[in-house]
């Protein structure tokens, strides 16, 4: 039986940029951001949200998002949070001193999404730092911090078991699948993210 994942698209008629990287049993559907609430909250195991969405419109659908979490859904949110969609969430905080040392990424490779991904391949693309993230969306109490900037001080990636069900994976930067075509260990991140999302409902039920 196939697992459905949804990609929230800000553009009409666009496929998810990572649709071809999904494992065989995983089906990725693009849902236009204006039609999110037409999707049954329990229809998909995960919803993947890119950085270019209308966040104000998304946050206005908080009742749907709550129902999605209660159904055990996994939400992968990319971008700088400007319109928090849960009371526990806060607005993006940029690095105070975004020098090169602050842009170095550290990741917890024990997380299945980041397994085997060399943090240097996230920090640098063609020798240039800063693509991965430049600050943090503040994690709620109880979140597991996975990726950091500024020598561990700024939580750019975290996972949070949402009270009442479901899971939120937060990445305060460019879309994680930006690295999918890179010739580096960072390319593994996208297929690992999709596999992890596909297993989300079982994991969230534990």
């Amino acid at each position: 039986m196939s697992v459905r994942l949804a990609y929230l698209s800000p553009r009409r008629g666009r496929r998810a940029p990572f649709a071809d990287l999904a494992p065989g049993h995983v089906r990725v559907e693009a849902v236009h951001e204006g039609e999110l609430t037409r999707l049954a909250p329990d229809a998909c195991a995960a919803l993947l949200v890119p950085m270019h969405i209308d966040q104000r419109r998304f946050a206005a659908k908080s009742a749907w998002i709550d129902a999605f979490f209660r159904a055990g859904g996994t939400l992968v949110f990319n971008g700088l949070l400007a319109y928090p969609f849960r009371p526990e969430l806060g607005v993006f905080e940029p690095l105070q001193r975004p020098g090169l040392s602050a842009l170095h990424v550290r990741v917890d490779q024990s997380h299945p999404v980041w397994h085997g991904v060399d943090a240097a391949d996230l920090t640098f693309r063609r020798g240039v730092a800063g693509f991965y993230g430049r600050g943090a969306n503040p994690p709620p109490d109880g979140a597991r911090v996975i990726g950091t900037l500024a020598r561990g001080r700024v939580p750019v990636d975290w996972e949070w078991a949402v009270p009442g069900g479901g899971c939120l994976l937060m990445h305060a930067g460019n879309d994680l699948w930006m690295y999918a075509r890179d010739d580096s260990s960072a390319a593994a991140l996208t297929p690992q993210l999709l596999s992890w999302c596909a297993h989300g409902r079982a994991r969230n039920a534990v």
Binding site: Q55, R57, L80, F92, L95, R134
Partner: protein, 209 residues
């Protein structure tokens, strides 16, 4: 001829993205607009009194294509429309002929390299507010310059990355392929922030030419 109105600052459209929230909401840019209008609430009535309307970079091109009439009306009635980068105006604004170029994010890694943008009309008022260095990060395309319009910043391929067109419409069109709101509101690309500081002061002062 552009209509004479009491001096007012622009209305800026807000697409609800994070970078619009942070760049338009950045008080360090000064009080450069009178009204910030979320696109979901924008309609003919809400734009009727605006002498200058700004379409910030990366406002959703699908929304713009769906609401082209709203924006074209601004030019037809003699007011000013400012259209910024990555908004695909070639889809919704008649006469906006854009040639996309592959974005070179990396040109500055070679110390010998230049991006190649050049000052067009050196006497244009925008240059009292910013420099060519402020406009130099990368660009995504260039526009054909309509007869009678002025290229303020030239692209190396020919065409313009920022033009001032008082000839094609009863109103005035400022058209650029630069995307400084996006970069400033994403907290990277210092040149884009410098550009935006100057550009917003120019808008606040009534776009002197």
């Amino acid at each position: 001829m552009a209509r004479t109105r009491p001096a007012s600052r622009p209305t800026v459209l807000d697409g609800g993205t994070s970078y619009h929230a942070f760049a338009i909401g950045d008080e360090s840019l000064g009080a450069w607009y009178d009204r910030r209008l979320y696109v979901e609430t924008a309609d003919t009535a809400s734009l009727a009194d605006s002498a200058v309307v700004v379409v910030p970079c990366r406002l959703n091109p699908d929304w713009l294509a769906d609401h082209a009439g709203l924006l074209i009306d601004i030019l037809r009635r003699g007011d000013t429309l400012v259209v910024m980068g990555e908004t695909e105006p070639e889809r919704w604004l008649p006469g906006a002929g854009q040639t996309p170029v592959p974005t070179n994010f990396w040109w500055w890694l070679d110390p010998e390299a230049e991006l190649g943008l050049a000052v067009g009309a050196a006497g244009h008022g925008l240059w009292r507010y910013l420099s060519l260095a402020d406009a130099t990060w990368h660009y995504h395309g260039h526009f054909r310059v309509p007869p009678g319009a002025i290229s303020v910043i030239d692209a190396p391929e020919g065409g313009s990355v920022l033009l001032d067109d008082r000839a094609s419409w009863p109103g005035r069109l400022i058209l650029t392929s630069l995307d400084p709101f996006y970069h400033h509101g994403s907290f990277f690309m210092p040149a884009a922030s410098s550009f935006l500081r100057g550009f917003c002061r120019w808008l606040a002062d009534g776009l002197p030419d």
